[in-house]
Amino acid sequence: MKEDHIPSGRVLKAPENFLSQEGIRTVFAEGKKGRRDFIRNAFAAAAAGAAMPMAMGQGNPVPTEGGDPNILNLPEHATGLGQGVASDNGYGKPSKFETNVQRRQSPGLTQTTQASVSFAPLQSLFGIVTPSGLHFERHHQGWWDIDPSKHRFMVNGMVKKPMVFTMDEIMRLPSVSRFHFIECGANTAVDWGNVAVPTVQYTHGMVSCSEFTGVPLITLLELAGADLKNGKFVLAEGGDGSSMTRTIPMSLITSGEVLVAYGQNGEMLRPENGYPLRLVVPGVQGVSWVKYLRRVEVGDMPWAAKDEAIHYIDLQPDGLHRQYSSIQECKSVVTTPSGGQVLLDKGFYNITGLAWSGKGKIKRVDVSVDGGRNWRQARLETPVLSKCLTRFNLDWVWDGKPAIIQSRAQDETGYVQPTYKQLRAVRGTRSIYHNNAIQSWLVQENGEVKNVQLS
């Protein structure tokens, strides 16, 4: 070591009980003489000294041997050589310690895996973006990994010229990238009648949020010379076995919001999410976001497709079904603390959760810890975007007594998320779809959190 490399006045200010300028000089001087042990001992003593005052009154007490072995015994990763670049075949994976964070099926909900659902682990996610591999899944007839060079997109119906596009051509058109939530119309369906499942993954895990990249559908309709005046409806159709079809109003398409998307969170769509092409219909339930999109048809009346005439219809108390109920109204849920979790101890917690609305931006979120008697306004974290998940947080000190935690969101139209009581007063309990009621989590004295509903 040359003299000019010895740290001098440019060393960062050391914390209290750490080494002083003088100490550092001594340590390095000793090191130069070959006395490495001196350096190690000096730093170890300083670290132990620093830990003492911090440990007071914490759930992480100082062990009797005078320090945390995780600090005192340097681990392999601090004393060895790590792994090289571009391992894992060039596509990185989450830490092996994160294997608990998975999308999961709800046992008994469906009999097959091809016509089924997997739920996103909302209890373990941060911010607003759902990692693509944890995005919830809903397949009606199994998923496919389709060769994008053979995928075609057709526009027909009330157009001057029916047209076909390759993926190359679609990706050459001007694109936009937007963050939106997608929620299955049946999210929270199992709790319409009463409490049925233990965790937020299973109550609310059919919502996810991504940055989608694609071409506004209106661009492709205009290329085909669509009759935007008389063609009040558009049918979207998938290219897989189920060839899912859904009716979309032209008014939503002319607004420029509806996208023919190929990108998701910076990469292509995942196969389970419709690779290589899917429709993005912001604010509308996921079934309309047709995957493996092969065709749109412009028409002058709705289609009453299977998923708008047999499923995705909401039974009302008078025996009528609401048809073409598509918008996901304002909703929120606390993801931590939530069902199936255990609070580690009394003291400070950050209550956190997600809010969203199919009608625009979230305006505010209030949180109650006493079952809805009193409320406090939560902090909305940025960004707050239209028809997108919004993260909210609230400071909370748990006193160890039972608490019922709820969140209540309001969107920019002024609409406030309803209570179960209000929702059931209008729609009964057999609606299956579009349950956006306020969720309650009971924190018990033993720290375990339970899914509950209030009278």
């Binding site: 310690f97 608990n100 999961r104 009999q111 091809q114 682990p121 209890q123 007839q141 057709m154 027909n156 010229k161 047209m163 051509e169 050459r172 058109l173 409490v195 049925a196 965790t199 993954q201 492709l220 290329l223 010379g225 189920s242 079809t245 109003p249 008014s251 009346m301 289609w303 009453a304 299977k306 005439a309 219809i313 039974l315 025996g319 009528l320 079904h321 609401r322 073409y324 109920s325 598509s326 918008i327 931590t336 603390p337 199936g340 255990v342 008697r373 409320w375 406030v416 209000q422 929702l423 057999r430 033993n446 720290g447 375990e448 339970k450 899914n451 509950v452 509903q453 209030l454 009278s455």
Partner: protein, 357 residues
């Protein structure tokens, strides 16, 4: 060709050329006109006004034959099966056919909702059977078979008589007998447009109250104790670190259930069972799992059950996979499967060895 027609044709061509240029001004070179053949192949949708319905017909009798061969193993002989999918038939009455409203839908205590109780439009049935059925071989039914299966379903619901033949000529008359044809409403505020003239305001109107909003809350519904562990151990469904850990639901709830595993406890990796992996990949490839679970009965027996009954009998099982059959596990027939001999053998060998995961 008369000169008059020539003029019209030329004008039309010019108009087309003009349009093509108008497009190309903005995005030259992108997209091409779809050929009539291409449109015909993909444009298969049938609307409630029967636009898109191909000419043709099919009888109830023919429908029964198709049904028993291609549909019954999932939907039941009488469309009543509730094992894999919701039942299709049941719950409608002759009175419903008169009124167009299914009376059972108003009953809170009526257990299920069948397809015929819900669907208002017969076009929906035709369109969906045509595009997506049979489940493992969609779009393989002929037009006659689609008419026939639709007729058979309608017959099971008492909507058409036994000797009926459904066709594009009489389907509009059948529509007038659909039991729930008057059972839909668009009077709600959840359609993202004004096309249906639905309600302009949402149906609930909660307000923002901040203090003393309600009396002491009472619990109306709590997760039943037996459901605590019904989704597996929740400790394994939460991150190892965080402000909360998952509850260990394999153990009874105690005074203090802070029993999360220490942060260093990496979940044990599953033993690498590449033979099982290959077999399960084949099961998925040939849609075997549509009817058989690896460790549970679905329509047919679970592979674990077959393994128990026929240990070591690779050739027998390979033959069964190819030939199908009924009677060994119950009356529901398994259709013959077309897959390469080697793959059938590989699956059979895996079952014969115990069908491990």
């Amino acid at each position: 060709m008369s000169s008059f027609r020539k003029v019209i044709l030329t004008t039309a061509l010019l108009a087309m050329a003009g349009m093509a240029m108008a497009q190309s001004e903005k995005y030259p070179g992108l997209g091409r006109v779809a050929t009539p053949k291409e449109v015909a192949k993909w444009d298969i949708d049938v609307r409630p006004d029967f636009k898109g319905l191909p000419a043709g017909s099919g009888s109830v009798a023919k429908g029964q034959d198709v049904w028993e061969g291609k549909c019954a193993h999932c939907h039941g002989i009488f469309g009543e099966s509730n094992e894999v999918f919701s039942p299709l038939v049941g719950g409608t009455t002759a009175e419903d056919i008169k009124t167009g409203r299914v009376a059972n839908l108003t009953r809170q205590d009526f257990p299920g909702r069948t397809t015929l109780m819900k669907v208002a439009t017969v076009s929906t049935l035709w369109d969906y059977i045509n595009r997506a059925m049979p489940w493992t071989n969609p779009k393989t039914l002929s037009t006659e078979e689609v008419y026939a299966v639709t007729a058979f379903l309608l017959n099971l619901g008492g909507i058409v008589p036994d000797d009926f033949t459904l066709s594009d000529k009489n389907i509009a008359e059948v529509q007038k007998r659909m039991p729930n044809r008057n059972g839909m409403t668009t009077a709600h505020a959840m359609w993202p447009g004004k096309e249906f003239g639905g309600a302009s305001r949402p149906d609930t109107a909660n307000t923002i109250c901040m203090k003393d909003c309600m009396p002491e809350p009472k619990l109306a519904s709590v997760l039943p104790e037996f459901a605590r562990n019904a989704h597996g151990n929740l400790a394994e469904q939460n991150r190892l670190v965080g402000q909360q850990h998952g509850a260990d639901t394999t153990r009874p709830e105690g005074k203090n259930t802070t029993t999360a595993p220490p942060a260093s406890a990496v979940p044990a990796p599953k033993a690498d069972n590449s033979e099982a992996k290959a077999a399960v990949a084949l099961l998925n490839k040939y849609s075997c799992t549509a009817c058989h679970g690896v460790d549970k009965k679905v329509v047919g027996p679970g592979f674990n059950e077959i393994a128990k009954k026929h240990p070591g009998k690779t050739d027998y099982l390979a033959g069964k996979i190819k030939a199908g059959g009924a009677g060994v596990w119950g009356p529901v027939p398994m259709p013959p499967q077309s897959l390469p001999e080697a793959d059938a053998k590989a699956i059979a060998a895996w079952i014969a060895k115990g069908a491990s995961k």
